[in-house]
């Protein structure tokens, strides 16, 4: 997420510089016969126009300069706006820690008071501990009975226990989603969630930590809704060979897009799994009751 935003910022910055310096050269050439512009004049004009300052002391007057200006400004000015917006995403976030820290010593000293914060500045890592403590107290939202995380190893065999595990995981995911610094889950945990999503009955059939290659899998066939992922096929290593294991949910074209959306998707699927499992359970029980009644 963060890396992505910095990439976007770098790309728009490069585009901006390219627009600025390229256009300066073109304006110099265009306006040379009429106003005898130097390269710096062109650069100055381009900058004043791009930043929408618009003094108007140097403006294009030749027809070539004016026509190019219209085309160029329609492309370049939005680029600058985009660059400023992405700078907001990146630079401001990078500076947020410092801003929070400055705020904590100047505006809102907090419960511990101003001297404590000041003292924190001169300890081993000046400021950083106080800062991280502050950020932590801001960014963590206490959430009920959040127990320890189930290690992503084995699916509980008892149905009730399975449900409790899923509910626990849902609690954890909601908690994680509310965190500012949430950076996505490790692959192993993702695999564990995928196994949970399969539901109680199917998850048991799948060998721990791996499930077989799906024959019907194609890039675009993974459906978003309903939670039917195409991994319900029976284990396919009848030949006894260790076939190449495949995780269609993680491959290109799956419904999981981007770290945060991915986790939201998993949340939805887990809820669906619970619902289906309960419905199935009810159906079985109803059938049993009718059988008993008959």
């Amino acid at each position: 997420m963060r890396h992505r935003q910095w990439t976007a910022f770098a790309i728009s910055l490069c585009a901006w510089l390219l627009f600025l310096f390229g256009a300066a050269a073109i304006f110099m050439v265009c306006e040379d016969p009429d106003q005898n512009w130097s390269y710096f004049d062109g650069l100055y004009m381009a900058f004043v126009a791009l930043t929408t300052i618009g003094y108007g002391d140097l403006t294009p007057t030749t027809s070539s300069g004016r026509s190019f200006f219209v085309l160029w400004s329609l492309l370049a000015v939005p680029t600058v706006t985009i660059m400023i917006a992405s700078a907001e995403d990146t630079l401001l976030k990078a500076l947020r820690g410092i801003i929070t820290f400055l705020g904590s010593i100047s505006v809102l000293p907090g419960e511990s008071g101003f001297p404590r914060v000041l003292k924190g500045m001169f300890t081993r890592r000046p400021g950083l501990d106080a800062l991280s403590e502050h950020v932590r107290s801001v960014s963590t939202i206490p959430l009920g009975a959040a127990t320890d995380r189930h290690p992503p190893t084995e699916i509980p065999s008892a149905r009730r226990k399975f449900h409790i595990t899923v509910l626990d995981e849902i609690t954890h995911i909601i908690h994680d989603l509310s965190r500012q610094d949430f950076g996505g889950y490790p692959v192993d945990r993702m695999v564990w969630y995928m196994r949970l999503i399969k539901g109680h009955d199917n998850a048991e059939n799948i060998q721990p930590d791996r499930y077989p290659k799906c024959e019907s899998h194609s890039r675009s066939r993974v459906r978003m809704s309903g939670g039917h992922l195409c991994t319900r096929a029976a284990p396919s290593n009848q030949r006894g060979q260790p076939s190449v294991w495949h995780y269609p949910e993680f491959s290109v074209g799956s419904p999981l897009i981007g770290p945060r959306e991915e986790v939201q998707w998993i949340l939805g699927e887990l809820l669906q799994t619970l619902k289906k499992d309960w419905e199935l359970h009810d159906m079985v029980r109803e059938e049993e009751e009718t059988n008993n009644g008959a």
Binding site: H3, R4, T7, A8, A49, T52, G54, Y55, G56, T61, S63, S64, R66, S67, F68, F69, V70, S73, L74, V77, P78, T81, I82, A85, S86, S132, V135, S139, A146, T147, D148, R149, P151, P152, H175, D176, R179, D181, G183, G184, Y185, P186, V187, D188, R189, M190, V191, R210, S220, P242, W245, Y247, F250, S251, V252, S254, L256, I257, G258, P259
Partner: protein, 221 residues
């Protein structure tokens, strides 16, 4: 696509013919703005036609999906940018009539105005023109702002997220394949290396604890 190439060719032909004739004539010519716009249009049409044919070829060979999903953001971006260009061009027509400018000078003025550059080398002088500037500039600037924000939302966020996700997906696939083939034999440092590329953490297989969290994350439990 073909028609794009045709129109691009026509424009290029016009440019070539006109410049030949001008070169032959004795008089010194000043190229009008229309001449330059003609050149730009030819170049842009050619680029668009080439992109379209690339897209067509890609679809034929099966690299690209044939259906283009028009999301709501994309649709509204199209609508907004068309509305902005319509405001720009129609405003240029109206103000060129009112103020007695040539149409292309008026276009230049409208561009400078709506992008809030405001050089002031061309400015409306009649009262009607000045009065009409109020609604015109408001509509145009708002429309441009919406277009830019939509563009940002669509191109930057969506485009780079797709790029990011594709990379992530491939790396994950590789990692999982490697893990399942070699089992626990993958060295932990390799895992950490992969994790560095993935931008996520990978749990230590030898440490069976719930500690598979992001290392920089505060202990949320």
């Amino acid at each position: 696509m073909t028609s794009r190439y045709l129109s691009s060719g026509c424009l290029a032909a016009i440019v070539v013919v006109v410049s030949r004739r001008a070169a032959k004539s004795m008089f010194a010519y000043h190229w009008s703005q229309a001449y330059y716009y003609c050149i730009y249009a030819a170049v842009i049409y050619f680029t668009i036609a080439s992109l379209l044919s690339l897209n067509f070829l890609g679809t034929c060979r099966g690299h690209l999906k044939p259906d283009v999903a028009l999301s709501t953001t994309l649709r509204s971006l199209l609508l907004h940018s068309m509305a902005f260009l319509a405001i720009l061009f129609l405003g240029a027509v109206v103000f060129s009539r009112l103020e007695g400018w040539s149409y292309l000078d008026s276009l230049y003025w409208a561009d400078v105005t709506l992008l809030t550059i405001g050089f002031g080398d061309i400015a409306p002088t009649t009262t009607l023109g000045r009065a009409l500037l109020f609604p015109y500039a408001l509509a145009g600037i708002v429309c441009l702002g919406l277009t830019v924000s939509l563009l940002r939302k669509l191109v930057l966020d969506k485009g780079s997220s797709t790029l990011h996700f594709r990379r992530l997906a491939n790396l994950r696939d590789d990692y999982l394949k490697q893990r399942d083939c070699a089992g626990e034999r993958i060295h932990h440092s390799d895992r950490l290396h992969v994790a560095g590329i993935l931008g996520v953490t990978v749990s230590n297989p030898h440490r069976r604890s719930p500690g598979t969290r992001h290392p920089s994350a505060p202990n949320a439990d």
